[in-house]
């Protein structure tokens, strides 16, 4: 077991535990803090995969911008454990069972995936595709069209937000 496997194990456990914490914790502020830990653990995974750019962007965008938004919403709505709406027991139970079913199906499908990927070689051509230089090259050569279309996507999101949010 080499060092990157150990790191992978630690990061995975951290990500899973903190993700569970997001869902389980009664206090919304704890949920948000757990979510930040999850994002950092996932960024660690990206670095292990040699995708530094993705890791940095993940931290800046998610752990930075989006988390601040979350905190603002919690602050403005003054959420805490007491005012949390309680769902009925049956609904919780049904959700639990449905989640377990999905989990079961995914486990069954992923059971043999490991040996398959070993033989079928779903592997990246080189280990350094995640470096910012190569990423930029791919983005502006092969994938320039979807890159432009994503800018249109942001345009539509922006127009939509303005339309919904503007004054009467």
């Amino acid at each position: 077991m080499n060092i990157s496997q150990i790191l992978f194990g630690i990061l995975t456990v951290l990500a899973l535990v903190s993700a569970l914490g997001v869902v389980v914790s009664k206090n919304p502020v704890y949920s948000v803090l757990c979510l930040i830990v999850t994002f950092f653990a996932i960024s660690g995974h990206y670095i292990l995969l040699n995708a530094q750019f993705l890791a940095i962007v993940n931290i800046i965008v998610y752990a930075g911008a989006i988390m601040v938004l979350f905190l603002f919403v919690i602050m403005l709505m003054n959420l805490n454990a007491e005012v949390e709406p309680q769902k009925s027991k049956i609904l919780k139970f049904a959700g639990f069972i449905a989640g377990l079913c999905l989990f079961l199906v995914i486990v069954a499908a992923l059971k043999n995936a490991d040996e398959k990927t070993q033989t079928q070689a779903t592997q990246l051509a080189g280990g350094d595709i995640g470096l910012i230089k190569n990423l930029g090259r791919a983005l502006f050569n092969d994938y320039v069209l979807p890159f432009e279309i994503s800018s249109v996507l942001f345009l539509s999101a922006m127009v939509g937000a303005v339309v919904i949010g503007k004054k009467e």
Binding site: Y143, P146, L153
Partner: protein, 481 residues
């Protein structure tokens, strides 16, 4: 990217430019009429450029897009629907006097998303197209936010669409893990070499079906449909019912064709079960419905169930049947929503069925148009709906998919009940007049009525002489095959 590839993409660039032009017009404080007319001309320009570049097709723009006859056919249908929706939008929004100008930006951006779906051959363009389509739709559904249901419908659609997008991405990731590529044809090759379909691929495709089923409002992912159709402004509802569904169905069909999914027994079972559930639930839920917008929502669930029967064979006959059915369905649903828009009062849409009581004696033209559209939805002979259903049945019978075919026939008969119920309401003798003062320039009413007449003529024309369009569809589908 070479010259010819750029040429092939020209219609899509014009489509993208249309929204920018509208933004600039708004910046220069132009009125609603100018924007409407410009939008209409831009859409005509898109159709013209499609005709102009027809000789360079098919073009593959590696790795993401393929502009072939199939894509051109469905893009053309989408643009046609947008033209009609835009025309109807004018009188609807002009009467409400709420600032309708940003509406056209969002409509064109959403159309671009749907058009990208029809030409995508890669998961990335599939996903971006779908997101572009739905992000604009969130705002469009909640556009008239002062009305009761609009924001509720918008939020419902937003939450469910975001959730299903997550499923779509996860499904794509699993297929990528299995096949090592996100390119449709590369996945097809990988599947071909594998001796048996892997559980990973099956799970991935099922998760993708959740998102696709949501967009097409197939059972059991249909829960949003009635609420959104009711809450959204009628032009937007007709947009969802036509443009968004045509785009998503086109990409699903292309995916299935490339991968030869009809050879995969388990996937075909999943799809035929979804088809049967959609046909049965859609028709049964519509039976007791008193709100015509909700009724059309349930009927569109059932119609996409029928359409999946044409999807089952996976041969060229199935694709032709699906294309014809989609054309007939789009024309019909546009007529139905056009009538709703024409009858809508300033602060309330004409959605209660009781409003339509005795409409024939009040406004014979509108009532007859609506009756023809409903007959076509029910699949009565002499209308395009009948021919479409006939083709779908033929495709199903050729494949000997007996169970879905039987369900199709039985549920069509059930469906007849509620379509005829509306028609009998239209001709009932107690007349409750729909109060509606005409304030706009009569030209726009004339244009809308003319659009309705053209649509009805198309409907009857395709129904009486399907030969005028079937060869065209075949020819289009041959380009690039």
């Amino acid at each position: 990217m070479n010259h010819q590839q750029l040429m092939a993409l020209l219609p899509f660039m014009v489509l993208a430019t249309a929204s920018i032009v509208i933004i600039l017009l708004i910046a220069f404080r132009q009125g609603h009429t100018v924007i409407q007319v410009t939008g209409f001309l831009m859409m005509c320009l898109v159709i013209f450029t499609m005709w102009y570049v027809r000789d360079v097709l098919p073009q593959t723009i590696m790795p993401l897009l393929i502009v072939d006859g199939y894509g051109a056919l469905f893009t053309g249908l989408i643009i046609f629907c947008v033209l009609v929706v835009g025309l109807f939008s004018y009188i609807y929004f002009e009467e409400r006097e709420e600032n309708p100008r940003e509406y056209y930006i969002l409509i064109f951006l959403s159309t671009l998303g749907a058009a990208i779906l029809t030409i995508s051959r890669h998961f990335i363009s599939f996903f971006i197209g779908l997101e572009l389509l739905s992000v604009s739709l969130y705002a469009l559904i909640a556009y008239l936010r002062t009305r009761n249901n609009a924001v509720e419908a918008g939020v419902k659609y937003l939450l469910l669409a975001a959730l299903t997008s997550a499923f779509l991405l996860f499904g794509m990731a699993l297929i990528y893990m299995d096949a090592g590529s996100m390119d449709f044809s590369a996945i097809a090759q990988k599947l071909h070499t594998a001796e048996q379909s892997s559980p990973l691929f099956l799970l991935g495709f099922s998760l993708m079906m959740i998102a696709v089923g949501f967009k097409l409002a197939l059972v059991p992912f249909h829960l949003w449909a009635a609420d959104v159709y009711q809450g959204a402004p009628p032009p937007v509802a007709s947009f969802i019912a036509t443009v968004s569904k045509i785009g998503v169905f086109a990409v699903l069909l292309r995916f299935a064709q490339e991968l030869h999914l009809q050879n995969n027994h388990s996937i075909m079972t999943i799809i035929s079960v979804i088809a049967m559930f959609s046909m049965i639930s859609g028709n049964i839920l519509a039976l007791r419905q008193q709100n015509i917008k909700r009724l059309l929502a349930y009927s569109s669930i059932a119609h996409f169930g029928y359409l999946l029967v044409a999807f089952l064979p996976g041969n060229s006959a199935g694709v032709e049947a699906a294309a014809f059915y989609l054309i007939a369905y789009a024309v019909t649903i546009l007529i139905a929503f056009g009538v709703i828009i024409l009858l809508s009062a300033k602060d309330k849409d004409a959605e209660r069925l009781s409003l339509y009581r005795g409409l024939f004696w009040e406004k014979p033209f509108v009532a007859i148009v609506l009756a023809v559209a409903l007959l076509s939805l029910a699949g009565i002979p002499l209308t395009a709906g009948f021919i479409g259903k006939f083709y779908v049945l033929m495709a199903g019978v050729q494949q000997q998919a007996w169970l879905p075919v039987i369900v199709l026939v039985v549920t069509s008969v059930i469906g007849l009940y509620y379509y005829l119920r509306i028609i009998s309401t239209l001709f009932a003798d107690v007349s409750v007049a729909i109060q509606k003062e005409k304030r706009l320039h009569p030209f726009f009413y004339a244009a809308s009525y003319a659009a309705l007449v053209v649509l009805v003529l198309l409907l009857l024309g395709f129904g009486v002489m399907p030969a005028i369009i079937i060869p065209g569809i075949k020819q289009f589908l041959l380009i690039g095959n």
